[in-house]
């Protein structure tokens, strides 16, 4: 644009991404060549502004369980729903629902009807939520069979069991039924973000830490005797340093494990060499760990967060242009 060609060109930064680990449950990557405010904005967006689907309204027809209606409705909301196609849904605040507050463009309908007809405790789990059509939700039983799978929105089931053996152990329990207790309800899910309610948070954990910058002063290091070197090595609880007997030297073996406890710095000071080591947090390299809950894959969470950040900045850009235009016309 004409104004920026005359103004000083600021150094444009070119961040880099390197993926360290990528699993179904988490992703670990390094973001470098940018500053903490950008890293933090990404982290905040991943937690609070990435949209996913979650059950919002539950109409309970029969509840003879030990839990209150609203207790069960709360638990239903917290069940993670597979949200890979969340972009195909409209936001319910702008949706043109023909009648009422919901339609198939913005909502996904479920029903649940479980009764304990046996003698043992019966677990009602997320697996018992059945997808239904809007017609069935509204009570029109002529259209019970429906082929649409709700754009793939369904409860997250039995993904990460760890030591758990069977589906029954891994499924998310909604309520446990005693003898003759029954739970019958219908509900619908919609799109939302973490800022509105914690049930819309796609991550279990989204953190970043600063990459450690550790520098050993070799001159001072040579002045230590073997015993002191071993003491220095052992002072670190994360085993960052390693003393090699062959070379009689201490090296940085696991730099990334550093927890900034500064025990090595304190030890160096106690041994009389306060300049021996410096431990700093990089202001340019950040190591992200993002762990999901099953509603979105870790890559989708990061991609969605970046898109969301862009659209926020887009919105601000449009607004600034509008303000500039209106000021021109004033004067």
């Amino acid at each position: 644009s004409s104004s920026s060609s005359r103004s000083k060109k600021l150094d444009q930064r070119f961040p880099k991404i390197e993926i360290l680990e990528l699993k179904d449950e988490y992703i670990k990557f390094v973001l470098s060549n940018t500053d903490p405010s950008v890293a933090n904005a990404l982290r905040r967006t991943m937690i609070a502004e990435v949209p996913i689907m979650a059950i919002d309204i539950a109409e309970i027809e029969e509840n003879t369980t030990a839990l209150l209606d609203e207790f069960i409705a709360h638990r239903l909301g917290l069940i993670p729903l597979l949200s890979h196609n969340v972009d195909n849904f409209t936001d319910h605040t702008v949706c043109n629902c023909d009648e009422g507050d919901h339609c198939e463009n913005c909502s996904v309908y479920f029903k649940l009807d479980e009764e304990n007809t046996g003698d043992n405790t019966y677990f009602v789990t997320a697996r018992h939520l059945k997808t239904i059509s809007r017609a069935e939700y509204m009570g029109d039983h002529a259209y019970i069979h429906h082929d649409d799978n709700n754009k793939g929105v369904a409860p997250v089931l039995s993904l990460y069991g760890g030591d758990m053996e069977s589906d029954a152990e891994r499924d998310i329990v909604i309520v446990k039924l005693g003898k003759n207790q029954r739970l019958k309800l219908r509900c619908y899910a919609r799109k939302g973000i973490g800022k509105e309610h914690a049930k819309f948070i796609p991550v279990a954990v989204a953190t970043f830490k600063y990459d450690p910058i550790i520098e050993l002063n070799q001159d001072d290091l040579e002045k230590l005797n073997q015993d002191e070197k071993i003491q220095f090595e052992k002072s670190c609880p994360a085993q960052v340093y390693k003393y090699h007997h062959q070379t009689r030297n201490v090296e940085i073996a696991n730099r990334s494990k550093c927890m900034y406890c500064m025990e090595c710095v304190k030890k160096a000071g106690a041994l009389g060499y306060s300049e021996l080591v410096t431990v700093k947090q990089s202001q340019e390299r950040f190591i992200f760990t993002v762990e999901n809950t099953g509603s979105l894959s870790p890559e989708q969470i990061v991609s969605s967060a970046l898109i969301t950040l862009q659209s926020k900045l887009d919105m601000l850009q449009t607004q600034v242009v509008r303000v500039k235009e209106s000021r021109k016309h004033r004067s």
Partner: protein
């Protein structure tokens, strides 16, 4: 319970609300305050840190005057003849480009990771 704001009130703009307004400072030359509604530190801190790295910016700060009201103020003072509103626009562009670079980098890194994982 009756004075609770409607849900989504702190996220969604109502029809009469304006996202961003700008006012020149009455007493100080080439300084002004942006008032942004329903945004938080995610955007505010990012903009502020970017502005501080610009040598044309003499002052840049942001605050939320009250936690119960979703209003964020960003105050900028620039070295004349540069105007705050132009510098603000420039930094939005810079940040958009930076996020765009991160997006491309992430896509490439994912492709490489998928390739190397499928070879295992």
């Amino acid at each position: 319970m009756s004075n609770a704001p409607p849900p989504g009130d702190h996220i969604i703009l109502s029809p009469e609300e304006i996202k961003l307004t700008y006012e020149d400072d009455q007493k100080i030359a080439s300084a002004g305050t942006f008032k942004i509604i329903k945004e938080d530190h995610t955007v505010g801190n990012m903009m502020r840190m970017s502005l501080l790295r610009d040598s044309r910016v003499l002052f840049a700060g942001y605050r939320m005057p009250h936690p119960l009201e979703n209003i964020m103020l960003i105050k900028i003072k620039t070295r004349e003849p540069v105007q705050p509103i132009d510098v603000f626009e420039h930094h939005i562009k810079l940040l958009k480009a930076e996020i765009g670079t991160i997006q491309d980098q992430f896509k490439d890194a994912l492709e490489n990771k998928h390739k190397s994982q499928s070879l295992d």
